[in-house]
Amino acid sequence: MSAITLIVRDELRLMRRNRVAVIAFALLVLLTLAAALISWSHQSGIAETRARFQAQAAEAFEAQPDRHPHRMVHFGNFIFRPLPPLAAFDPGVDAFTGNSIFLEGHRQNSANFGDVRQSSLLVRFGQLTPAFVLQVIAPLLLIFLGYGAVARERERGTLRQMLVQGVSARALVMGKLLALAVVAALVGLPALIAFLLIAGQPGALAGPMAVIALGYGAYLALWSIIVILVSALVRRGRDALLALLALWAVLVILLPRVAPDIAAQAHGLPTRLETDIAIQQDLHRLGDAHNPDDPFFNAFKQKMLRRYGVDKVEDLPVNYNGLLAVEGEKLTSGLFDAYADRSFAIQQAQSRLTDGFGIISPAISLRQLSMAAAGTDLAGHRRFLAQAEAYRYAMVQHLNQLQADAVSYADDKAKDAGADQRKRISADHWQAIPQFRFIAPTAGDLVTASLPGLGLLLAWLALALLALLPVARHLQKARP
């Protein structure tokens, strides 16, 4: 045991003496802290802007004067996606999804005004967040600090000396690994501090945070092992460095880009235009509101007349136009949901295919885990869209019901000079409509969503640990 401790101490002392290594390490720590600060202030800025707009939109909605309820269906409402607290650590797809939706009757609008369409091309170079630093840059530092750990001893001939003196290759490898793991832990420390700051925020959940801490810990440990493995296998230090840089470029930079391209080609998404047209066609098939003899709407009329025991729509105790609006919205919304489900299923298949590349690239697995636990992945966006649609439907149907109950059919049909005033109902009705409240996912939901990535990462870690044994044995043979 003491042999390992000695090796660890010796290796760390060597790193401390290496001025370049110390500077690189210090820079990375600074970078993580800067990223955390920038990300933090960026996120709170976004949160503040969205809260302000949300308040402004709600105020505008409630300030609308007495109106015909259908006018309010078209005036609609704006809602904004609040950022989950962990978005300050990993904002995920936030910059790419729009963050506001206009909710109105008859239509399901897209989420608009994502950062990516309001920023310069630089947004495509990646964003400086703690997650980015740990996923992309921290492994690079471990490579620079550790590529020579074993290769150096071999090149200088000290490896043979140590083996002759009775230090086992296994102890040597373990010692070098532990020294690098200490560095990795120090690299992760500033991010952990940033993380603890976030924990003080309301709404931050312990479970997902633990998964993220575990995931990033496993990732850095994995890179430490990979570095030591390559350093032990390759004959010269320079070759170890080049091999590790190539590995890093492929696993962290290349594969995360190639995988989505393959996924996009494998599962094509229909455009909004096609979806809109298809919904129109389906609606036309179900019932044509513009055709006075349409069987669907005639049957609906008969049903309503029977329900109230009258012969003419004029005799109904409620406004038939309002009933029609309720029925029409039910039809269209059912189709919206069906098509949204279909589009989301394709996107999910794309994402699953991409995540599958985590089998060869741990960086992809970590990204999946990180975004899922932070609630900033595709599923998080979908959660917002689904809740927005539910809110839209409830609001529109409430207004349609108001048309049925509070506006008389005769007034609704009237076209005389005073008709416009008689059709209006009190503005109190709008003020009574509750505001949109985003229901955040539970800790359990987030943790479950992040398990595939975590599983793959841990499998990688176990595999890498196992690979240490034959490599140590191989080193042992270097003894003459």
Partner: protein, 417 residues
């Protein structure tokens, strides 16, 4: 010449050099193929929507044509606008994966339609696309580093440097030969797949030459950096580590920091603000005297002011007038929003003068017509198209001319633009 072939043989005998060159060629081929596949897919989508769009219009024409009411025709007809990829788009896909290249508009308020997004999976867009620009900007420098970092130090470390220096006719010319050879092969590995892709995509010669020149310049920059670091007479390992650090700084770190700085320095009056204001302006029309809206409309569009006055009943011309007045009332906001984004884009391009990675990416996207400027040009075309749509329907609405089924044929088409 024999000297050069000799050097070539020497270079290719090194397994790593051969591997690196083959890998560059492979990556270039793959990226060109991926880019071309994506562009072909986008073209296919644009072709695919045309019959569907015609079908949709025919369905509207069937019932709305019977009513003879131009208001119905204008309200229910959606018209497609699209942005076909330029021949060079496969080189740099730019914004085309996140900004819609197909949009459906109708003659109502444009500001509420112009910023609509396309359905796309944000998780796929997040890491960026795998195109030639990516291979050039991010990966090519790594290969330059791999091939050049030990150009001199490698000879020194293997003890041949003194001998090489001592040889007659050697010296500068030897190194120049080696640099040109390695650089030339690297350029070929990138340029040949690109040129083949460009020929297949019918790219005119001049833009292709511009892209090739850019590739050569970018490679020259990194080779220059590598040689400069090499002059410091460090060991090969230190060279490689220093260069990888520089690469990290120039292609990953500084651009992300610049992004934060630019978005900080140039706040963009959020598009949301614009949309909220537009909605307010449009919906207010229901609560003010209709004549007030018509006066505002006729003031800007005197060509329709002789239209008969409104009666008590609803008239579509008033409906379309208040949509247009709504658009016009937020025009300053729309301009400010656009200028804000343009200022950010311009700032990023000036950063390109300092950071070659950003500069090359920006220039490639410009040449490929896939950048923010191309987006705005597309928006301008949509605006012009929308103006023609409005005029087309107004000619019926404001003269109470019946709009029959045959009149649907006469609507402006985006491809006439």
């Amino acid at each position: 010449m024999t000297l050069l072939t000799h050097e070539l043989r020497l270079l290719l005998r090194s397994r790593m050099a051969l591997l690196a060159l083959l890998l560059v060629a492979l990556l270039a081929i793959a990226s060109v193929a991926a880019g071309m596949a994506e562009v072909a897919r986008q073209r296919a989508v644009i072709a695919r929507i045309q019959p569907k769009q015609a079908q949709d219009i025919a369905a509207v024409a069937q019932w709305a044509g019977k009513t003879q009411d131009p208001g119905n025709a204008a309200y229910y007809s959606f018209h497609a606008a699209w942005d076909a990829p330029a021949p060079l788009a496969f080189v740099a896909l730019g914004l085309r994966d996140v900004a819609p290249y197909i949009l459906r508009v109708r003659a109502l308020g444009l500001e509420a339609q112009l910023y609509d997004g396309e359905a796309f999976n944000p998780e796929l867009a997040l890491p960026g696309r795998f195109d030639f620009a990516f291979v050039l900007v991010y990966l090519a420098p790594l290969f330059v580093i791999a091939l050049f970092h030990d150009l001199v130090s490698g000879e020194r470390e293997s003890g041949r440097l003194r001998m090489l220096d001592a040889l007659a006719g050697s010296g500068r010319r030897l190194w120049a030969r080696r640099v040109l050879l390695r650089g030339g092969l690297l350029l070929l590995a990138l340029a040949v797949p690109l040129a083949i892709g460009a020929t297949l995509s019918h790219v005119p010669l001049l833009p292709l030459l511009a892209v090739l020149g850019l590739v050569a310049l970018y490679l020259a920059f990194w080779i220059g950096v590598t040689l400069l670091v090499g002059r410091l007479r460090w060991s090969s390992v230190t060279n490689a580590a220093t260069l990888a650090g520089l690469w990290l700084l120039l292609t990953l770190l500084l651009p992300t920091i610049a992004h934060v700085a630019i978005n900080r320095a140039i706040p963009v009056g959020q598009g949301v603000e614009l949309t909220l204001a537009q909605r307010e302006a449009v919906n207010r029309a229901w609560d003010i005297p209709r004549e007030q809206t018509m006066r505002a409309f006729y003031a800007g569009h005197p060509e329709w002011k002789d239209s008969p006055p409104l009666g008590h009943a609803f008239h579509w011309k008033w409906y379309f007038a208040f949509h247009q007045v709504g658009d016009e009332s937020v025009a300053p906001k729309a301009n400010a929003y656009r200028h804000g984004i343009e200022a950010r884009d311009a700032a990023a391009r000036s950063v390109g003068w300092l950071l070659p990675s950003v500069g090359v990416q920006a220039l490639l996207a410009r040449l490929a017509d896939t950048d923010m400027q191309a987006q705005f040009a597309y928006q301008d075309r949509i605006r012009a198209f929308h103006a023609r749509l409005r005029n087309h329907y107004y000619a019926y609405l404001f003269t109470d001319k019946p709009f029959g089924q045959a009149d649907f044929e006469g609507a402006p088409r985006f491809d006439d633009m």
